[in-house]
């Protein structure tokens, strides 16, 4: 066993899994609060990449900018993208899901798929059906960690994902709004009786999930240097799987599921065969669901009768 290689792949796996984890958070939050699998979420993530690209182009950002100007451009890009995607999340919830809330369970699922297709096609109309190059403005030098090397972009991906996950945990568990979200997830009727504005709280959940997806979109744009209107499909599917694997409705579980899938993918590529990566991910999912139907960390189901 070549442990250096294993360690190197571990780094690859963590950076891949970090992205899945951040997207998975959006799935799991929405499911936790209204028991809806928001299939449009993967496309919100990809739309984030597109909004980021547009913002960077507007700002005239390029790799030749001074460090300070670059940092400013990046900060503005993150802020704009996260706000725009957050707002998009609210709009989607308001017009595609809220009118159907409480009716039946299948209808919102279908509108979610409809919203997903709509976003994909809008993105295609906007920037065309081919992959679009994303400006490579963050240099990607390599750092040595003993025998291992890690790219700057990988560090950015891992670091920013961890920050986002920590911020989400703080928000959900330490703020009044977070408390309202948890209360709504547990029993929205009781929460409403207690004076919590359910509509506002659910909209907020979509906002936060979409903000995270938007940020992930910026990061992957910078990392892979290419964005494509259909990227959200696979990313969404894998992130959804991560959420289920960890225990849907459970934010810690979603993060764990994301990292686990990243790990499975890279280790399959290294030791089994790249073509089996997706197969391996779903095999593990099936095994986990057979023995732990609520996912690894268990589902935090609303306590409803």
């Amino acid at each position: 066993m070549n442990w250096v290689l294993f360690g190197q792949q571990l780094i690859n796996g963590v950076s891949l899994g970090a992205i899945y984890a951040v997207i998975a958070l959006g799935y799991t939050m929405v499911y936790g609060i209204i028991e809806l699998i928001n299939f449009a979420h993967g496309d919100v993530y990809t739309a984030g990449s597109f909004v980021a690209l547009a913002t960077l182009v507007l700002l005239g950002a390029s790799g030749h900018m001074a460090a300070a100007a670059l940092a400013f451009a990046l900060a503005v890009t993150f802020a704009v993208t996260m706000l725009v995607m957050g707002a998009t999340g609210i709009v989607i919830e308001r017009f595609a899901y809220r009118p159907l809330r409480g009716k039946q369970r299948l209808a919102p699922l279908l509108t979610a798929i409809g919203v997903s297709f709509s976003i994909e096609n809008l993105l295609q109309l906007w920037m065309g059906p081919s992959p679009v190059p994303f400006p490579q403005i963050v240099p990607n030098p390599f750092f040595s960690l003993g025998p291992l090397t890690v790219g700057q972009m990988q560090l950015v991906v891992i670091g920013s994902s961890l920050v986002m996950m920590a911020a989400l945990q703080l928000f959900v568990h330490r703020t009044r709004l977070g408390k309202a979200m948890r209360a709504t997830a547990q029993d929205w009727m009781a929460a409403e009786i207690m004076g919590i504005d359910i509509n506002k709280t659910i909209a907020l959940t979509f906002f936060v999930g979409s903000v995270l997806a938007g940020a992930a979109g910026v990061i992957t744009g910078l990392f892979y240097g290419n964005i494509w209107f259909i990227n959200g499909f696979r990313a969404g599917l894998i992130a959804f799987t991560a959420a289920v694997l960890g225990g849907i409705g459970n934010t810690t579980g979603a993060a764990l599921g994301g990292f686990l899938i990243g790990f499975i993918e890279v280790m399959t590529a290294q030791y089994v065969g790249f073509q089996w990566a997706t197969v391996a991910v779903f095999s593990v999912l099936i095994l986990v669901l057979i023995f732990r139907p609520t996912g690894l960390l268990g589902q935090q189901l609303p306590e409803r009768t």
Binding site: N2, L5, Q8, Q9, N12, G13, S15, L16, N121, Q124, G128, P129, S130, P131, P133, Q136, N140, F142, T149, G151, M153, Q154, T220, Y224, G225, N226, W228, I230, N231, F233, R234, A235, E265, V266, A269, Q270, G273, F274, Q275, A277, T278
Partner: protein, 400 residues
Amino acid sequence: MRRAVALASILAVLGLVLLVPGTGGVPAVSAATVVKIGVDLPMSGGEAPNGVPTNNGVLLAIDEANKAGGPYTFQEELKDDAVNGVHDPAQGAKNVQELIADRAVVGIVGNFNSNVGKATIPITNAAGIVQISPSQTNPGLTKPEFGALDVRKAHPDQINYFRVCPTDDLQGPVAADFAYQNLRARKVAILDDQETYGKGIADEFEKQFKKRGGTVLSHDGIPKGTQDFHAILTKIKSENPDLLFFGGVTTTGGGLIRKQMPDVGLKIPYEGGDGIVEDEFLKVAGDAAEGSYGTVASVNAEKLPAAQGFIKAYKAKYNQDPGAYSANAYVAAKIIIDAVRAVGPDRAKVRAWVANLKNYKSIIGTFSFDKNGDTTNKVISVYQVKNHKWEWLTQRSFEL
């Protein structure tokens, strides 16, 4: 009673026909019979760079034929098999059915992509209409040893599908020869996108490279939709190969793999088939594209004296250089035109004429069609990215 009504309505229709000026009755005096050449290519979205220059070649052949005069006026009937910007076998099949239903269509030029051909050839074979492709390189479309009998089940002995380009089973081996002999690679790693074209060319590369005495360290398939290749490239780097061969097209990984190779410090030559020899690859791979090699299953028309007139005419008409398959498409259309001129606009006769084509002089060389419908002109071009452009490097003839 019923018969009387029927008779009356027939008479009424006839009367109408006679009353409407210019229709029926007196045949219109036209100088030439209109003969249509059906074309099915991916024309829209991301496929436009493939389909449009190819179609331009057809249009040029038709233009020239009409200028030369004769008893027939040739027209193009163009269909687009791209759906949402991606070539689609089901759409291709539908297009070909529509072309066959149009009795004025005597033959079809197309399609562009091999998997579309798998869907269309059974239809054209059953209809007995000639189909000539400028660019489909999968051997399974013609060669029985690759399963071609499955696509011409209706009339296995009446070849109706021909192609003027060499096949992947040649592109792969020539790419392997180029890697082994010109680039002196001895150990390679292979990635393919697990699609008909990509896996085909990668498998043939592997076979020939081993035959030359080289070592294939690994051959992996890419899960559909993969964006992050760091893990597989890290693994490939650990195997320390001399070259990475990719079977597939830009959007199934060809571009992103090249782009991410420097991320893991993989500094070895990168080679692929014609699926990456396109501008899209340069855009996706960015600066990393520099130095990549790609084979194209066609002769470089620019280097052939016979094609100089075509190139000049193309540039004059379209104000740009011909695409990789423009000359092939021109030849494909011209064969159908010549067939019509020789035997008339009859589908069966045109097919038989093309099937017996021997030593046909064309702008891409003199060739015949073999018993499977393949060209005997087996020249493969090798391109390299230089200064953000694919440039023709050399061409190699395939020899067993």
